[in-house]
Protein backbone atom coordinates (compact mmCIF):
# COMPACT_ATOMS: atom_id res chain seq x y z
CA UNK A 1 0.00 0.00 0.00
CA UNK A 2 1.28 3.46 -0.86
CA UNK A 3 2.13 5.73 2.03
CA UNK A 4 0.38 8.62 0.35
CA UNK A 5 -1.82 8.70 -2.69
CA UNK A 6 -3.81 11.53 -4.24
CA UNK A 7 -6.49 10.45 -6.70
CA UNK A 8 -8.14 12.99 -9.01
CA UNK A 9 -7.86 15.51 -6.22
CA UNK A 10 -9.45 18.91 -6.84
CA UNK A 11 -10.20 21.87 -4.62
CA UNK A 12 -12.26 24.91 -5.48
CA UNK A 13 -12.76 28.16 -3.63
CA UNK A 14 -15.63 30.34 -4.81
CA UNK A 15 -15.81 28.29 -8.03
CA UNK A 16 -12.13 28.93 -8.70
CA UNK A 17 -10.02 25.82 -9.15
CA UNK A 18 -7.03 26.03 -6.83
CA UNK A 19 -6.10 22.39 -7.40
CA UNK A 20 -7.12 20.59 -10.54
CA UNK A 21 -7.06 16.80 -10.85
CA UNK A 22 -3.93 16.06 -8.84
CA UNK A 23 -2.69 12.47 -9.06
CA UNK A 24 0.47 11.13 -7.46
CA UNK A 25 1.79 8.45 -5.16
CA UNK A 26 4.54 8.63 -2.59
CA UNK A 27 6.07 5.34 -1.49
CA UNK A 28 7.99 4.79 1.73
CA UNK A 29 11.63 5.79 2.10
CA UNK A 30 11.67 8.82 -0.18
CA UNK A 31 12.41 12.49 0.22
CA UNK A 32 10.14 14.33 -2.15
CA UNK A 33 10.29 17.98 -3.12
CA UNK A 34 6.97 19.66 -3.76
CA UNK A 35 8.15 22.56 -5.85
CA UNK A 36 6.28 25.52 -7.19
CA UNK A 37 6.02 29.26 -7.01
CA UNK A 38 4.11 30.90 -4.20
CA UNK A 39 0.35 30.69 -4.54
CA UNK A 40 0.27 27.77 -6.98
CA UNK A 41 -1.59 25.40 -4.69
CA UNK A 42 1.24 23.76 -2.74
CA UNK A 43 -0.14 24.76 0.65
CA UNK A 44 -3.71 23.89 -0.36
CA UNK A 45 -2.53 20.41 -1.32
CA UNK A 46 -0.74 20.02 1.99
CA UNK A 47 -3.77 21.23 3.92
CA UNK A 48 -5.94 18.68 2.16
CA UNK A 49 -3.56 15.91 3.20
CA UNK A 50 -3.68 17.18 6.77
CA UNK A 51 -7.45 17.43 7.09
CA UNK A 52 -7.43 21.21 7.36
CA UNK A 53 -9.54 21.41 4.20
CA UNK A 54 -11.89 18.98 2.52
CA UNK A 55 -11.58 18.14 -1.18
CA UNK A 56 -14.14 19.40 -3.67
CA UNK A 57 -13.67 16.10 -5.52
CA UNK A 58 -11.26 13.21 -5.53
CA UNK A 59 -9.54 11.84 -2.48
CA UNK A 60 -6.39 11.69 -0.39
CA UNK A 61 -5.36 8.31 0.99
CA UNK A 62 -2.75 7.89 3.68
CA UNK A 63 -1.80 4.26 4.05
CA UNK A 64 -5.06 3.54 2.22
CA UNK A 65 -7.25 5.64 4.51
CA UNK A 66 -8.79 9.08 4.15
CA UNK A 67 -7.48 11.74 6.57
CA UNK A 68 -8.52 11.07 10.16
CA UNK A 69 -7.18 9.96 13.51
CA UNK A 70 -5.16 7.11 11.97
CA UNK A 71 -3.51 9.32 9.35
CA UNK A 72 -2.64 11.91 11.98
CA UNK A 73 -0.75 9.30 13.95
CA UNK A 74 1.40 8.72 10.86
CA UNK A 75 1.97 12.27 9.67
CA UNK A 76 4.19 14.83 11.33
CA UNK A 77 3.32 18.17 9.81
CA UNK A 78 5.18 21.46 9.92
CA UNK A 79 2.91 24.25 8.67
CA UNK A 80 4.26 27.49 7.27
CA UNK A 81 2.84 29.48 10.15
CA UNK A 82 3.39 29.45 13.90
CA UNK A 83 0.72 27.25 15.38
CA UNK A 84 1.59 26.92 19.06
CA UNK A 85 -0.31 28.51 21.93
CA UNK A 86 1.97 31.48 22.52
CA UNK A 87 1.04 31.68 26.18
CA UNK A 88 2.95 28.45 26.76
CA UNK A 89 6.56 27.87 27.73
CA UNK A 90 8.80 25.76 25.50
CA UNK A 91 8.76 22.91 27.99
CA UNK A 92 4.94 23.08 28.04
CA UNK A 93 4.70 22.55 24.30
CA UNK A 94 7.17 19.65 24.52
CA UNK A 95 4.88 18.18 27.18
CA UNK A 96 1.89 18.87 24.95
CA UNK A 97 3.40 16.90 22.07
CA UNK A 98 4.42 14.16 24.45
CA UNK A 99 0.84 13.95 25.72
CA UNK A 100 -0.77 13.61 22.32
CA UNK A 101 1.70 11.77 20.11
CA UNK A 102 2.72 8.24 21.05
CA UNK A 103 5.72 8.46 18.71
CA UNK A 104 7.12 11.65 20.25
CA UNK A 105 10.57 11.50 21.82
CA UNK A 106 10.91 14.32 24.34
CA UNK A 107 14.55 13.53 25.11
CA UNK A 108 15.38 14.04 21.48
CA UNK A 109 13.41 17.28 21.47
CA UNK A 110 15.34 18.61 24.48
CA UNK A 111 18.62 17.60 22.85
CA UNK A 112 17.76 19.42 19.63
CA UNK A 113 16.58 22.45 21.62
CA UNK A 114 19.89 22.71 23.42
CA UNK A 115 21.76 22.17 20.13
CA UNK A 116 20.06 25.26 18.79
CA UNK A 117 20.49 27.08 22.11
CA UNK A 118 16.79 27.44 22.69
CA UNK A 119 15.83 27.84 26.34
CA UNK A 120 13.12 25.41 27.43
CA UNK A 121 12.08 27.81 30.20
CA UNK A 122 11.30 30.59 27.77
CA UNK A 123 7.78 31.69 27.00
CA UNK A 124 6.86 31.58 23.31
CA UNK A 125 5.64 35.19 23.36
CA UNK A 126 9.18 36.19 24.33
CA UNK A 127 10.64 34.46 21.27
CA UNK A 128 11.16 35.88 17.80
CA UNK A 129 9.21 34.34 14.94
CA UNK A 130 12.38 32.62 13.74
CA UNK A 131 12.95 31.03 17.14
CA UNK A 132 9.35 29.85 17.30
CA UNK A 133 9.74 28.27 13.87
CA UNK A 134 12.82 26.42 15.08
CA UNK A 135 10.92 25.14 18.10
CA UNK A 136 8.19 23.89 15.80
CA UNK A 137 10.63 22.15 13.49
CA UNK A 138 12.22 20.43 16.48
CA UNK A 139 8.84 19.25 17.74
CA UNK A 140 7.90 17.92 14.32
CA UNK A 141 11.23 16.16 13.78
CA UNK A 142 11.18 14.63 17.27
CA UNK A 143 8.34 12.34 16.25
CA UNK A 144 9.08 8.93 14.76
CA UNK A 145 6.48 9.48 12.08
CA UNK A 146 5.92 7.63 8.81
CA UNK A 147 5.45 10.76 6.78
CA UNK A 148 6.91 14.18 7.49
CA UNK A 149 5.33 17.07 5.65
CA UNK A 150 7.35 20.25 5.87
CA UNK A 151 5.79 23.34 4.37
CA UNK A 152 8.48 25.91 3.53
CA UNK A 153 10.84 24.84 6.33
CA UNK A 154 13.64 27.07 5.04
CA UNK A 155 11.74 30.31 4.63
CA UNK A 156 13.55 33.19 6.26
CA UNK A 157 16.33 31.33 8.06
CA UNK A 158 20.03 32.10 7.92
CA UNK A 159 22.37 29.72 6.01
CA UNK A 160 23.83 28.17 9.17
CA UNK A 161 20.39 27.30 10.46
CA UNK A 162 19.40 26.09 7.01
CA UNK A 163 22.26 23.57 7.10
CA UNK A 164 21.25 22.53 10.58
CA UNK A 165 17.67 22.05 9.45
CA UNK A 166 18.71 19.91 6.48
CA UNK A 167 20.94 17.86 8.79
CA UNK A 168 18.07 17.46 11.21
CA UNK A 169 15.78 16.29 8.45
CA UNK A 170 18.35 13.85 7.08
CA UNK A 171 19.39 12.38 10.40
CA UNK A 172 15.99 12.17 12.00
CA UNK A 173 13.78 10.58 9.47
CA UNK A 174 13.72 6.88 10.11
CA UNK A 175 13.98 4.13 7.56
CA UNK A 176 10.70 3.39 5.88
CA UNK A 177 9.55 6.94 6.44
CA UNK A 178 9.11 9.56 3.75
CA UNK A 179 9.50 13.30 3.75
CA UNK A 180 7.67 15.86 1.65
CA UNK A 181 9.33 19.25 1.55
CA UNK A 182 7.41 22.06 -0.05
CA UNK A 183 9.53 25.00 -1.08
CA UNK A 184 10.33 27.54 -3.72
CA UNK A 185 13.97 27.72 -2.55
CA UNK A 186 15.11 24.74 -4.57
CA UNK A 187 18.85 25.23 -4.80
CA UNK A 188 19.19 24.81 -1.04
CA UNK A 189 17.53 21.46 -0.82
CA UNK A 190 17.73 19.76 -4.17
CA UNK A 191 20.72 17.68 -3.15
CA UNK A 192 18.68 15.72 -0.63
CA UNK A 193 15.68 15.04 -2.84
CA UNK A 194 14.87 11.65 -4.34
CA UNK A 195 11.94 12.84 -6.32
CA UNK A 196 10.37 16.09 -7.33
CA UNK A 197 6.83 17.17 -8.03
CA UNK A 198 6.54 20.45 -9.90
CA UNK A 199 3.23 22.14 -9.38
CA UNK A 200 1.95 25.17 -11.25
CA UNK A 201 -1.47 26.80 -11.41
CA UNK A 202 -3.01 23.95 -9.45
CA UNK A 203 -1.67 21.21 -11.71
CA UNK A 204 1.24 18.82 -11.60
CA UNK A 205 3.51 19.75 -14.49
CA UNK A 206 6.47 17.44 -13.91
CA UNK A 207 7.32 14.52 -11.66
CA UNK A 208 10.29 12.24 -11.59
CA UNK A 209 13.52 11.21 -9.94
CA UNK A 210 15.77 14.19 -9.23
CA UNK A 211 18.88 12.50 -10.63
CA UNK A 212 17.03 11.33 -13.75
CA UNK A 213 15.89 14.87 -14.42
CA UNK A 214 19.45 16.17 -13.95
CA UNK A 215 20.74 13.51 -16.32
CA UNK A 216 18.13 14.26 -18.95
CA UNK A 217 18.24 18.05 -18.75
CA UNK A 218 21.99 18.17 -18.01
CA UNK A 219 21.43 20.83 -15.40
CA UNK A 220 20.22 21.38 -11.84
CA UNK A 221 16.63 21.00 -10.71
CA UNK A 222 16.73 24.66 -9.74
CA UNK A 223 17.65 25.58 -13.32
CA UNK A 224 14.97 23.31 -14.77
CA UNK A 225 12.47 25.02 -12.49
CA UNK A 226 13.64 28.49 -13.49
CA UNK A 227 13.38 27.71 -17.18
CA UNK A 228 9.98 26.15 -16.80
CA UNK A 229 8.47 29.04 -14.86
CA UNK A 230 10.23 31.94 -16.46
CA UNK A 231 8.18 35.07 -15.99
Amino acid sequence: MELLECIHLSKEFDNKKILNDINFKIPRGKIVGLLGKNGTGKSTLIKLINDLLTPTSGEVLINGKTPGVESKKLISYLPERTYLDKGMFVKDVVEFFNTFYDDFDSEKAYKLLSDLELDKNMKLTKMSKGMQEKVQLILVMSRMADLYILDEPLGGVDPATRDYILDTILSNFNEGASVIISTHLIADIERILDEVIFIDKGKIVLTGSADEIRKKEKTSIDEVFRRMFKC
Partner: protein
Protein backbone atom coordinates in the same frame (compact mmCIF):
# COMPACT_ATOMS: atom_id res chain seq x y z
CA UNK B 1 36.45 12.78 3.86
CA UNK B 2 34.92 15.89 2.35
CA UNK B 3 32.30 15.91 -0.35
CA UNK B 4 31.61 18.67 -2.84
CA UNK B 5 28.79 18.74 -5.30
CA UNK B 6 27.42 20.79 -8.07
CA UNK B 7 23.72 20.43 -8.71
CA UNK B 8 24.13 20.16 -12.46
CA UNK B 9 24.88 16.46 -12.59
CA UNK B 10 23.23 13.51 -10.90
CA UNK B 11 24.30 13.45 -7.26
CA UNK B 12 24.87 9.69 -7.17
CA UNK B 13 27.39 9.90 -10.03
CA UNK B 14 29.32 12.57 -8.17
CA UNK B 15 29.20 10.44 -5.04
CA UNK B 16 30.61 7.45 -6.94
CA UNK B 17 33.47 9.56 -8.29
CA UNK B 18 34.37 11.03 -4.92
CA UNK B 19 34.08 7.76 -3.01
CA UNK B 20 36.23 6.07 -5.65
CA UNK B 21 38.90 8.72 -5.14
CA UNK B 22 38.54 8.18 -1.38
CA UNK B 23 39.49 4.54 -1.93
CA UNK B 24 42.36 5.30 -4.33
CA UNK B 25 43.86 7.79 -1.90
CA UNK B 26 43.50 5.31 0.96
CA UNK B 27 41.06 7.55 2.77
CA UNK B 28 39.24 4.25 2.95
CA UNK B 29 42.16 1.82 3.14
CA UNK B 30 42.43 -1.59 1.53
CA UNK B 31 40.15 -4.08 3.29
CA UNK B 32 38.91 -1.46 5.75
CA UNK B 33 35.33 -1.21 6.89
CA UNK B 34 33.52 1.84 5.54
CA UNK B 35 30.88 3.76 7.49
CA UNK B 36 27.21 2.82 7.16
CA UNK B 37 25.03 4.23 4.42
CA UNK B 38 23.38 6.50 6.93
CA UNK B 39 26.63 7.81 8.36
CA UNK B 40 28.05 8.42 4.92
CA UNK B 41 24.84 10.16 3.85
CA UNK B 42 25.06 12.42 6.87
CA UNK B 43 28.72 13.11 6.14
CA UNK B 44 27.95 14.07 2.56
CA UNK B 45 24.65 15.71 3.52
CA UNK B 46 22.78 13.74 0.91
CA UNK B 47 19.77 11.50 0.89
CA UNK B 48 20.55 7.97 2.19
CA UNK B 49 18.83 6.53 -0.87
CA UNK B 50 21.25 8.36 -3.13
CA UNK B 51 24.21 7.16 -1.08
CA UNK B 52 22.84 3.63 -1.28
CA UNK B 53 22.71 3.91 -5.04
CA UNK B 54 26.30 5.17 -5.22
CA UNK B 55 27.57 2.35 -3.01
CA UNK B 56 25.70 -0.16 -5.13
CA UNK B 57 27.55 1.19 -8.16
CA UNK B 58 30.92 0.83 -6.38
CA UNK B 59 29.94 -2.67 -5.37
CA UNK B 60 29.27 -3.43 -9.03
CA UNK B 61 32.81 -2.27 -9.79
CA UNK B 62 33.91 -4.66 -7.00
CA UNK B 63 35.69 -1.78 -5.25
CA UNK B 64 33.65 -2.54 -2.14
CA UNK B 65 31.93 -5.68 -0.93
CA UNK B 66 29.33 -6.48 1.68
CA UNK B 67 29.89 -8.89 4.52
CA UNK B 68 26.46 -10.10 5.39
CA UNK B 69 26.29 -8.95 9.00
CA UNK B 70 29.27 -6.66 9.37
CA UNK B 71 28.64 -4.02 6.76
CA UNK B 72 30.60 -2.86 3.78
CA UNK B 73 34.37 -3.14 3.25
CA UNK B 74 36.88 -1.85 0.76
CA UNK B 75 38.17 -4.61 -1.52
CA UNK B 76 41.35 -6.46 -0.58
CA UNK B 77 42.14 -6.83 -4.27
CA UNK B 78 45.12 -4.46 -4.61
CA UNK B 79 45.40 -5.23 -8.30
CA UNK B 80 41.87 -4.05 -8.89
CA UNK B 81 42.54 -0.78 -7.09
CA UNK B 82 45.66 -0.30 -9.14
CA UNK B 83 43.76 -1.02 -12.33
CA UNK B 84 41.11 1.52 -11.48
CA UNK B 85 43.77 4.03 -10.57
CA UNK B 86 45.45 3.40 -13.91
CA UNK B 87 42.18 3.92 -15.72
CA UNK B 88 41.55 7.14 -13.89
CA UNK B 89 45.13 8.29 -14.44
CA UNK B 90 44.83 7.58 -18.13
CA UNK B 91 41.63 9.56 -18.29
CA UNK B 92 43.14 12.51 -16.42
CA UNK B 93 46.33 12.43 -18.51
CA UNK B 94 44.35 12.42 -21.73
CA UNK B 95 42.28 15.32 -20.50
CA UNK B 96 45.48 17.18 -19.63
CA UNK B 97 47.13 16.52 -22.97
CA UNK B 98 44.08 17.61 -24.87
CA UNK B 99 43.84 20.86 -22.93
CA UNK B 100 47.57 21.51 -23.55
CA UNK B 101 46.94 20.87 -27.19
CA UNK B 102 44.35 23.64 -27.10
CA UNK B 103 47.04 26.13 -26.09
CA UNK B 104 49.36 24.90 -28.83
CA UNK B 105 51.67 22.34 -27.19
CA UNK B 106 51.92 18.84 -28.61
CA UNK B 107 52.59 15.78 -26.46
CA UNK B 108 56.40 15.92 -26.62
CA UNK B 109 56.50 19.64 -25.86
CA UNK B 110 54.15 19.04 -22.95
CA UNK B 111 56.31 16.26 -21.53
CA UNK B 112 59.45 18.39 -21.87
CA UNK B 113 57.65 21.25 -20.21
CA UNK B 114 56.60 19.04 -17.30
CA UNK B 115 60.19 17.75 -16.85
CA UNK B 116 61.40 21.31 -16.75
CA UNK B 117 58.70 22.25 -14.24
CA UNK B 118 59.48 19.61 -11.61
CA UNK B 119 63.27 20.06 -11.66
Amino acid sequence: MKFNFDNERPIYIQLVEQLRIGILTSEFGVGEKIPSVRELAMLAKVNPNTMQKALAELEEEKLIYTERTNGKFVTKDVKLIKKIRDNLAKEKANEFFSSMKKIGMDENETIDYLRELIK
